[in-house]
C-alpha cells in the first residue's frame, strides 16, 4: 500500500522534494490512524489499561509499598486492609505487591517471546515467499510440523530439552513460549511476500536493478507491518496465558520470583477450606491475567479493524 505512491517508486526523479512529501504523508497517515483509533472506546480503554499495567510493572517500587518477597509472620492470610490492599498470603507476603511484581514477569516474558517468534518467523517467511518452489515447500512443512504441537506441549518439551542448559529461567521460559509463535509469523509474512512479489512496482524495482534485500526492506516489509502488529498484539495475550500456565504447573517461573501462575498454584492448596482469606488468593492473580490478556485481545481486534483496509467500512 505505502509503496504505490508515485514519490517512492524507484527512479521517479531523485529531487529532494518527494522525500518531504513522503514524510508529510507518513505524518498524515499516523495522525489519521490516531484519529480513527480515538473513536474506538474499546481500543482507548484497553490501551489505558495496558499502559497502567506497564507503568506498574516498570515503576513497581512506586506502585507497590511492600516487598513482594518479605514475609510477615504476624499477618498470615490477612484480609484486605489499608496497609495490605489485597491482604496477605500463607507466608504473610503482601498480595498486592506480588500481583504488581507478577506483571513485570508477564510483560517481560511477553516481549521477549514475541521478539523470538518474530526474529525467526520474519526471515523464514520472507525467504519462503521469495524463493518459492521446493525450498518454500521445505520451510513451510517445518512450520506445519511446529503448528501440529499444541503450543503448551511444544513449550514444555523445549523447557525440558533446555532445562539444564544454564540459561536463566525467565529467558528459558520466553524461548519456550516464543518458538511456538514462529509458524504464525512466518505464514503471515510469507503470504504478504507472495502477494507483493507479483505486483508491478516490484517487477519494476527488480527491472531497474534493486537488490532482493532492498525489495524486501522497501516493498515487502512495509506491507506486512499491519498484520504483524495485529498478530503480535494477540500473541502477547497468549504469551501471558502460557507463562502463567507453565508457572502454574511448576515448570515456569520458580519461587520466590512472583508470577501470577505461581500464585494461583499456591492458592490452589489453600482455597479448599472455603474461608475468604484463603479463597481471595485464588482470585487476584486470575483477574490480573484475565484483564491483561483481555486488553491485548481487544486492542488486537481494534487494530485489525483499523489497519486492514479490506475490513475498513465492513459491518
Amino acid at each position: 500500500m505505502s509503496d504505490q505512491r508515485p514519490g517512492s517508486a524507484p527512479g521517479a526523479g531523485a529531487a529532494p522534494a518527494p522525500s518531504f512529501a513522503i514524510r508529510d504523508e507518513r505524518f498524515h497517515r499516523t495522525r489519521d490512524f490516531w484519529r480513527r483509533f480515538r473513536r474506538r472506546p474499546i481500543g482507548v480503554v484497553s490501551l489505558i489499561v495496558l499502559l497502567l499495567i506497564l507503568f506498574a510493572a516498570i515503576f513497581q517500587d512506586v506502585s507497590a509499598r511492600h516487598d513482594p518477597i518479605a514475609q510477615d509472620i504476624e499477618a498470615l492470610f490477612a484480609t484486605p486492609s489499608p496497609d495490605h490492599f489485597l491482604g496477605t498470603d500463607n507466608l504473610g507476603r503482601d498480595s498486592y505487591a506480588r500481583v504488581i511484581f507478577g506483571a513485570r514477569t508477564a510483560m517481560q516474558v511477553g516481549v521477549v517471546s514475541i521478539i523470538i517468534g518474530l526474529a525467526a518467523g520474519l526471515p523464514i517467511g520472507l525467504l519462503a515467499g521469495f524463493w518459492g518452489g521446493r525450498r518454500d515447500e521445505v520451510l513451510m512443512r517445518i512450520m506445519d510440523a511446529l503448528f501440529a504441537f499444541p503450543s503448551i506441549l511444544l513449550a514444555l518439551i523445549i523447557l525440558v530439552g533446555l532445562g539444564n542448559s544454564g540459561i536463566d529461567r525467565l529467558t528459558l521460559v520466553s524461548i519456550a513460549i516464543g518458538i511456538p509463535f514462529i509458524p504464525g509469523f512466518a505464514r503471515i509474512i510469507r503470504g504478504s511476500t507472495l502477494s507483493v512479489k507479483e505486483q508491478e512496482y516490484v517487477t519494476a524495482a527488480a527491472a531497474i536493478g534493486a537488490s532482493d534485500l532492498r525489495i524486501a526492506a522497501r516493498h515487502i516489509l512495509p506491507n506486512t507491518l499491519a498484520p504483524i502488529i495485529v498478530q503480535a498484539s494477540l500473541l502477547f495475550g497468549v504469551a501471558v496465558i502460557v507463562e502463567a500456565a507453565l508457572s502454574f504447573l511448576g515448570l515456569g517461573t520458580q519461587p520466590p520470583e512472583p508470577s501470577w501462575g505461581l500464585m494461583l498454584a499456591q492458592a490452589q492448596r489453600f482455597m479448599v477450606t472455603g474461608e475468604f482469606a484463603k479463597i481471595q488468593l485464588a482470585l487476584y492473580p486470575g483477574f490480573a491475567i484475565s484483564i491483561t490478556v483481555l486488553a491485548f485481545n481487544l486492542i488486537g481486534d481494534v487494530l485489525r479493524d483499523l489497519l486492514d483496509p479490506r475490513l475498513r467500512g465492513a459491518d
Binding site: D144, A148, P150, L153, A245, S290
Partner: protein, 314 residues
C-alpha cells in the same frame, strides 16, 4: 479429488516425520544431560555413566533416532527407566480419557457457540451482537486453569455438588464418569467457545449477503425460514475448518486441566513424565499428540472439500 487426498496424505506423512525429528531434537540434542538430570546433582558419576549406557545415550544421535523410529513402527515406545513399565502400557487406557475430555469440551463449545453466533450474525450491530463479541473475547482471555479453579471453588467447595478430584471410567459407571468430566470439559469448552462463536457469526454475516439468501427473501419466506433453512446450514461449513485448531487447543487445555482434576489422561501423564524425567514417555506422548492433531486437520481438510463442492484443491 483423489489427487488432492493423496497429496494431502503425503504432506501429512512429511509433517509427522518432521514432528518426530523436532521432538527428538528437543529432548535429546539440546544441551542438558538427561541422565544427569534423572540422577540429580549429587549423583555418583559412574552411576550416571551406567544410566547413560542403559538409556542408549552413548550411541550416535542418528542411531538413537533410528532406533526410536523403528521401535515406534513396531509398537515399541520404550521403557520407563523408573519403574521398568513399557511406555505403551503407561499410555494405553489414558488415550480414551483425553479423547473423551476433548470431544466433550468441543461439544460444549459448539452447543454454546452455534446459537449465539447465529443470532449475533443474523442481527449484526445490535446490542446482542456487541455483547457476544465481548464475551467471546473474554472467553479466550480467561486462562483455562483459573476457570477450572473457579469451578472447583463454586461447585465443589461452596455448593458441594461435585467432587474436585477423582475419576470413574465410563465403562464402570457412565453417570459418575460424566460427573467427573463436567467441570474439566466445561472449563475447556468455555475457552474454546469464544473463537467458535465469532467464526459462526462471521460466516453467518457472509452467507446472509449471498444472492440465494436474497432470492429466498424475495420470494416471501419469513426471516426465520430464511435463516434456518437456507443460511444456517451453509454458515456452519466454514466451522469445520477451525475444528483442527480447536482440537489442538483442547489437548493443550487438557494437559493443565487433567492435572488440576487428577484425571488419568495423556495430559497428566505428560506432566508426570516431565517431573520424573521420563524421556521415552515424553517422546511417545508428544509424537502421539502431534500426530493426532495432524490427522484431525487432514480429516478436516478432506471433509471440507466434500462439504463445500466449490472447494477443489488442485
Amino acid at each position: 479429488m483423489k489427487a488432492f487426498i493423496v497429496r494431502r496424505l503425503l504432506a501429512t506423512v512429511v509433517v509427522l516425520w518432521v514432528v518426530s525429528a523436532l521432538t527428538f531434537i528437543a529432548l535429546n540434542v539440546l544441551p542438558g544431560d538427561v541422565a544427569a538430570a534423572i540422577m540429580g546433582p549429587q549423583a555418583d558419576p559412574t552411576a550416571v555413566e551406567a544410566l547413560r549406557e542403559r538409556l542408549g545415550l552413548n550411541d550416535s544421535l542418528l542411531k538413537q533416532y533410528a532406533g526410536w523410529i523403528a521401535g515406534v513402527f513396531q509398537g515399541d515406545l520404550g521403557v520407563s527407566h523408573r519403574t521398568g513399565t513399557e511406555v505403551r502400557d503407561l499410555i494405553g487406557g489414558r488415550i480414551e480419557v483425553t479423547v473423551e475430555l476433548g470431544i466433550l469440551s468441543i461439544l460444549i463449545a459448539l452447543i454454546i457457540a452455534i446459537p449465539f453466533g447465529v443470532i449475533a450474525g443474523a442481527r449484526p450491530g445490535t446490542v446482542f451482537d456487541y455483547g457476544l463479541t465481548f464475551f467471546a473475547v473474554l472467553g479466550v482471555s480467561i486462562p483455562v486453569f483459573w476457570l477450572a479453579l473457579l469451578f472447583v471453588l463454586l461447585f465443589a467447595v461452596e455448593l458441594g455438588w461435585l467432587r474436585a478430584i477423582g475419576f470413574t471410567s465410563f465403562t464402570d459407571d457412565p453417570i459418575a464418569n460424566l460427573k467427573s468430566m463436567v467441570m474439566p470439559a466445561t472449563a475447556i469448552g468455555l475457552t474454546l467457545a469464544g473463537n467458535l462463536a465469532r467464526q459462526v457469526r462471521a460466516s453467518m454475516v457472509e452467507v446472509l449477503r449471498q444472492d440465494y439468501v436474497r432470492t429466498a427473501q424475495a420470494k416471501g419466506l419469513t426471516p426465520r425460514t430464511v435463516i434456518t433453512r437456507h443460511a444456517f446450514r451453509n454458515a456452519l461449513i466454514p466451522l469445520v475448518t477451525v475444528l483442527g485448531l480447536q482440537a489442538s487447543l483442547a489437548v493443550g487445555g487438557a494437559i493443565i486441566v487433567e492435572t488440576i482434576f487428577q484425571l488419568p489422561g495423556m495430559g497428566k501423564l505428560v506432566i508426570d513424565s516431565i517431573f520424573f524425567q521420563e524421556v521415552h514417555a515424553m517422546q511417545a506422548l508428544t509424537l502421539l499428540i502431534a500426530a493426532g492433531v495432524a490427522l484431525i486437520s487432514l480429516l478436516v481438510d478432506i471433509s471440507y472439500a466434500f462439504l463445500d463442492p466449490r472447494i477443489r484443491y488442485t
